[in-house]
Symmetry: C2
Subunit: 71 residues, 2 copies
DNA sequence: ACGGGATGTAAAAGATATTTTACATAATGT
DNA sequence: ACATTATGTAAAATATCTTTTACATCCCGT
């Protein structure tokens, strides 16, 4: 299991706020797999900055509105 | 050599705006190596979100003011 | 009760990021 | 001229992220 990250995220909320978007849909739209979305959403590890940017863009918000740093 | 990333950054400018901070100093402050800073600064690959957050915090700005997505 | 869609999770393989070690050059101060 | 500091860069090893494959449960509609 990957190392837990000190980064909180609001992916799940954003998904539901955007038409009940499913993990699979989100994954497909940013070119990643469902498992990766699930892991990031669960905070199992911190994603690449690239992945983070693509996720934020799907929701039309800035990085800071998806991921928050606590440490 | 790592893959070039579609992410632009302003680390170098920010370093100089913050007391001519050196790559080594920045690296030390965020617990990474000088080579990693150099590679990120040169856009050789996109850092982890964790590294990105730590860099932004050193400069006291948000992620978007350090890294910008173009793609 | 059954089937399908959404999610949780895990192990192994693959890809990418980061460290370590090492050497090079340019700029600066003495 | 010499030493020191900052930076560029590279190869190999290590760590971390991501995919692939697979199976599990939960929930909802029929």
């Amino acid at each position: 299991m990957p190392t837990p990250s000190p980064i909180a995220n609001h992916i799940r909320r954003l998904r539901f706020e955007h038409g009940e978007m499913t993990q699979s849909e989100l994954a497909e739209r940013i070119g990643m797999t469902r498992q990766t979305i699930a892991a990031i959403e669960a905070g199992k590890y911190s994603p690449s900055l690239d992945a983070a940017f693509r996720i934020a863009q799907v929701f039309g918000v800035g990085l800071g509105e998806v991921f928050q740093w606590r440490a």
